[in-house]
Amino acid sequence: MPIAAVNDFVIRFANVNGSGSASANLLFARSILRMGVPIGPRNIFPSNIQGLPTWYEVRVSEAGFLGARGGADILVAMNPQTFVQDLAAIEPGGYLFYDSTRPIAHLLTRDDIVVLGMPLTEICTKEYSDSRQRQLYKNIVYVGALAALLDIELSVIETLLRERFKGKDKLITANLHALKIGCDEAQSRFQCPLSVRVQRSDAAGERILVEGNFAAGLGAVYGGATVCAWYPITPSTSLAESFESNCARYRVDAATGKKNYAIVQAEDEIAAIGVAVGAGWNGARAFTATSGPGISLMQEFFGLAYFAEVPVVVFDVQRGGPSTGMPTRTQQSDLLAAAFASHGDTTHVLLIPDGPGETFEFGASAFDFAERLQTLVFVMLDLDIGMNAHLTAPFRWDDARAYDRGKVLSGEELETAREFGRYNDVDGDGIPYRTLPGTHPTRGAYFTRGTSRDRFARYTEESGPYVDNMERLLRKFETARRLLPRPVLKAAAKPTRVGVIHYGSTAQAMDEAQALLAREGLHVDTLRIRAFPLALEIAEFVREHEQVFVVEQNRDAQMRTLMTTDLELAPAQLTSILHFGGMPITARFIVGEIAGRLRRPASAQTLERVS
């Protein structure tokens, strides 16, 4: 019995990387969006440049559940290498669309799926002489076929093609031709549309489809970042590239052609953070973007920024660890490495966005927090947020919004100031006043160092001033706790004693899971953490619930460690649900775990580890 579903399915493309399928798949996905139907596309790609298997998955959901779901209702098998495993991924009653040029009947071992064979290679070989063209247009041909099968309006695809190849009419006609071929072939071979299909809707509304790394780079531009120093590393590279392209677009003086920004591709991560720290010290809004290995290399500078109190922003686009780990897979496993970065007693501010929308917002506000708190601020993305496009509310910016440059003394203020002590807690919030080099001929100069010093920045090895300074830093972080974004509560429809805490890219799956659980009559309140130091509301949420689950995409329950340490919560109160295989967490997984756990003692699973 084939699956019947309108605007609610998952289609997965199995391709070979470097074969040009990416743009065709994106065209396909966007055409559905243009029909007003919400989509959640995802790339599953190898740490390699050419020739290895790569997958593209589109979740189509009228209801707007766009997190990874698992399984595929339609599988487009364009890669013989992975045919067998792809076949296995199809849901019972699902569809297999494949290139039937070479007979592979022997491989078609499943009788619970519908098989749609189309001799794509043959068709393209007939149609095109040049081999590269055959390769490229084959992708467009299958898009055409899928349009017919899924009832996607050709006109929509045509518009997208016209937008994309604006001015290149030859290309447009060529693509439209290929599209038509695929469409006609499908019409002639299959009964179109399928029971799984797309239908116009306005569910997508005004939402935009954008990658987190693009949003972060754009946020940094809006947030007034002027110095970016980085070193290439997957999956953070496109974040720096976004800053660069958006600066090129909005930060170049029309008259002089000069740049209101500076970007340095450093020789490594240590230099990258060093440049950012130097710029932050000298009053520019500066940042670097990296991933796990870079976070490890930058540790010494993180400690300096903490102790010398230099504002600087670090975007950590988390990937699968440890070590080089899984560079093209997603994880939330750098929390401890960031929160407690560097030797000695240190803590750092973390901002944890749930998707591109919040990433844009945090990408800008991170600089306000860094300058207000005079410290290092991490923005913790992950590969799923950063490199996958997500449907999100349009970016908003209030033109009245002014940057918070924090406590920086001007020349005038120095003139009138009674005394200046760089590390003097004048206001009792733990945040001292700072001065910038070159401000005043005779006042405000001080020496910045990573060694201990007194309130007037004088070097000292005495316990008293050292302890005084270290305790002030604790006060400063209490100020941070109050200043940072609050957690987001989503209450269950009915009052419940079960709470679920989550953060970052888990949000999409969690929202869906909350709904699915509710259907099963299992009501849960959810709380999404957005920053560290942790807000006190989080402790309250835990106290108000009999059983609290903490959902994380890492092995070691790192957020749980932060919660017990920072909020004095008892581990027994927090049941971990951990997903760390490198693929985005799914609602199915969360539902399974929670539904299962609700019948077992709370901390059983986590106790295993020590018993």
Binding site: Y250, G278, G283
Partner: protein, 351 residues
């Protein structure tokens, strides 16, 4: 504000520079280095050079890494902001500071361990980028602050205080700096103030990456017989390839200089450096010749000092990047934030 520790009174008769500042105004807090340490002489030379150039103290930013040498910024220029960063990473921190505000004068002070051992990569890449700065390495061949282990500039075979011999090929930072594209490269000796001060002045006048390797004996751990970085050894083996005088833009260039084996180099701000050749074969404006000079000295077991290489109209990082003339740290929302209208366009393009 460490320098406040020291009383500053202006005696009427004390000499003042064009800005009306006295030498005192360029000094820092009391040095805590060993009595006789070469580094203190270099600090004095820097103070002297800044005073004579009439640089505004508060417009200088002094940065360093970690080490006895890297402590010295505390002992000079008390009105300047300073940053004693982390070991071997001054170049990157200085680069960032420079990007944030191109209008200040940047002085980087480092040691041979700080630069040639842990910091070699950052040193090399800062030179490649042509960061506009004066980068001084106070080179004593050892890690002074950690009690005298050999650094990467220790000459093979030279003996440590405990008698151990240096085993590895030494790094010649001057040769490396030239190869890496530094546009002003010099070597000097902490004991030769007459040579050092003009070199530092010229370096400040130079636009681009100016590097000076100053041999600076460690009296406590590397000033014994058998060391090739001791006062005696360096005095005996250093050969100046040229001598120079810096003539400020306004002053006329005295004729007798311009004669014979001397060349006049005009610096970007109009001042002039007059070079008197002492080594006829050496041409500090020819990279190949400069490298050849170093090879000759190496083979002869001599230490070539003076201005080894200079590239007159070098480009510096800001020029390369095409950054705005106004310091980036002065720009406000108006220049930096594209605003809501632009955002609407972006949103539209993402549907």
């Amino acid at each position: 504000m460490t320098y406040l520790g020291k009383p500053k009174f202006h005696h009427p008769s004390i000499a003042v520079n064009e800005l009306g500042y006295t030498r005192r105004d360029y000094e820092g807090s009391m040095s805590t280095l060993c009595a006789g340490c070469g580094h203190d002489a270099i600090s004095a030379a820097i103070i002297h050079a800044c005073f004579e150039l009439s640089l505004l103290p508060h417009r200088i930013a002094k940065l360093s890494g970690i080490g006895c040498s890297s402590k010295t910024p505390t002992y000079m220029l008390g009105q300047s902001h300073g940053f004693n960063s982390v070991h071997g990473r001054m170049p990157s921190v200085l680069t960032g500071a420079n990007l944030a505000n191109r209008d200040l004068i940047y002085l980087g002070v480092s040691g041979d361990g700080d630069t040639a051992s842990i910091g070699l990569g950052q040193f090399a890449h800062a030179m490649r980028r042509g960061v506009n700065m004066v980068y001084i390495v106070e080179n004593n061949g050892v890690y002074g602050l950690t009690k005298g282990q050999f650094s990467a500039t220790a000459d093979r075979g030279s003996k440590s205080k405990k008698g151990a011999g240096a085993l590895d090929q030494p790094i010649d930072l001057v040769g490396m700096a030239i190869g890496l594209g530094a546009s002003f490269v010099a070597r000097s000796f902490s004991g030769d103030k007459a040579q050092l001060v003009p070199l530092i002045k010229a370096a400040f006048e130079h636009k681009g990456a100016a590097f000076i390797d100053v041999i600076s004996p460690c009296v406590t751990f590397n000033n014994h017989a058998g060391s090739t970085k001791s006062f005696d050894y360096v005095r005996e083996h250093n050969i100046a390839v040229n001598a120079l005088d810096v003539i400020m833009g306004r002053e006329p260039i005295e004729v007798d200089y311009a004669e014979g084996g001397s060349q006049a180099v005009t610096m970007h701000d109009g001042s002039t450096v007059v070079l008197r050749k002492l080594d006829a074969n050496h041409d500090c404006r020819d990279r190949s010749a400069a490298l050849a000079t170093l090879e000759r000295a190496r083979i002869a077991g001599e230490i070539a000092t003076g201005l080894i290489y200079i590239e007159d109209e070098a480009n510096e990082l800001h020029g390369v990047l095409g950054t705005a003339d106004r310091p980036l740290n002065e720009l406000s929302e108006r220049e930096l934030c594209p605003g809501s209208k632009a955002l609407a366009v972006i949103n539209a393009s993402l549907r």
